[in-house]
């Protein structure tokens, strides 16, 4: 419940403040968002499986975001930023889908 409230507060704050994304962050924010989404979905699965740990969640959330941004940064430095961004999004997308499927099986057994 509190988690859902937190999500809503974040959305409302984002809508109300309407912050401008700084230029240096622009290539990394979308990847970071996708990575965070992956961490959240993974946490939901772990929670339903009974293996949830807030410590692990926080660490995995932050490390996911930072790692995704770092990979993109490295890709930019190597000159393959666009391709690497695509790769990261694909991998995270696959993880999100498999975790969502696991959650679906846990809740509906289907």
């Amino acid at each position: 419940m509190i988690a859902v409230l937190g999500l809503l507060v974040g959305v409302v704050v984002g809508v109300v403040l309407q912050p401008d994304v700084p230029l240096w962050l622009q290539p990394y924010l979308p990847i970071a968002v996708v990575a965070a989404l992956d961490a959240v979905i993974g946490a939901g699965r772990a929670f339903l499986e009974g293996t949830f740990s807030d410590r692990v969640f926080v660490i995995s959330f932050v490390s996911n975001v930072v790692l995704a941004a770092l990979i993109v940064l490295l890709g930019d430095k190597l000159g393959v930023g666009a391709q690497l961004s695509t790769g990261v999004v694909v991998v995270l997308g696959i993880r999100i889908f498999s975790n969502t499927a696991a959650i679906r099986r846990l809740i509906f057994h289907a």
């Binding site: 968002v33 009974g50 293996t51 692990v56 969640f57």
Partner: protein, 275 residues
């Protein structure tokens, strides 16, 4: 809630999963091996509502961060123009694409211009040809007598009170007028005289193209008026012949002679264009 790898890990180690399954005694076999039973999942979901803990607060904070990030990114994506977030390599690619596009458009433009000028030339030359053909048609129509015509010329009135002016005399006169450059001729405002016009007599009356023509004969002739007036006066010519037959010839020079009558201008039956 057992501690262990979980958040962000879609594959917790087998050990923890085994331990967790051992902790809760199974009353009936799992529908899928390795997954918690339905009651357990329900219990955890209910637990979210009744006893929020530290984990929930952490999750709330991180979800708040996620929501903030999502809205920010969505807004940035919607408001920013398409090129703001692109890397230099992407921009170069976009630029190359635009250059190629512009080259293609340029080529197309040139082709279309060439086509347009070709079509314009063609239509202009066709118009010129058409004008020439129209010109020619009207010229030929005047010569063949199929078109009414007008121009400077003379009106010749021939009286024949004694009825002695012969057909041959009249034909001689017409030939003399032709020699003098007559371009169109008309007898008595009714019959056009052309190359095929027939002259005949019937009971003393003149038949021109089968039509009766009674004296006084009036010849409307288009041509150079002084020349036409002069050719009739040559010694032993038309005027002499008519006056020897007790007739008179009167020539009026006119700036504008109108010839309204036309011939039917039938297509030739036998003669075909050659060459």
């Amino acid at each position: 809630m057992p501690e262990g790898p979980g958040a962000g890990h879609e594959d917790p180690p087998e050990g923890s999963r085994e331990a967790q399954r051992d902790a809760v005694p199974d009353r009936r076999p799992d529908p899928l091996p390795g997954t918690p039973r339905r009651e357990e999942v329900r219990r955890r979901l209910r637990g979210l509502l009744v006893r929020p803990g530290r984990g929930q607060v952490a999750a709330a904070v991180l979800l708040g961060v996620l929501g903030f990030g999502v809205t920010t990114q969505v807004r940035a994506n919607e408001t920013n123009d398409a090129y703001a977030g692109l890397r230099s390599a992407d921009l170069v690619q976009v630029l190359n694409g635009l250059n190629a596009e512009s080259r293609r458009a340029e080529t197309e433009l040139n082709e279309l211009r060439a086509t347009r000028s070709r079509l314009t030339d063609r239509s202009q030359s066709r118009e010129a040809a058409l004008a020439q053909v129209r010109d020619q048609a009207s010229t030929l129509g005047i010569l063949a007598g199929t078109l009414p015509t007008q121009g400077p010329g003379v009106r010749i009135t021939i009286t024949d009170p004694e009825g002695k002016v012969s057909l041959n005399t009249l034909l001689d006169g017409i030939e003399e007028l032709r020699a003098g450059g007559a371009e169109a001729m008309e007898v008595n405002d009714t019959v056009r005289v052309v190359a095929q016009t027939s002259f005949d007599t019937d009971d003393g009356t003149l038949l021109v193209d089968g039509q009766r023509v009674a004296p006084p004969y009036v010849l409307d002739v288009i041509g150079n008026p002084p020349t036409l007036a002069k050719v009739l006066d040559i010694a032993g010519g038309f005027r002499y012949d008519v006056e020897s037959s007790d007739g008179t010839v009167e020539v009026q020079r006119r700036d504008r002679v109108k010839i309204a009558s036309v011939t039917s201008g039938d297509d030739p039956r036998f003669a075909q264009p050659a060459g």
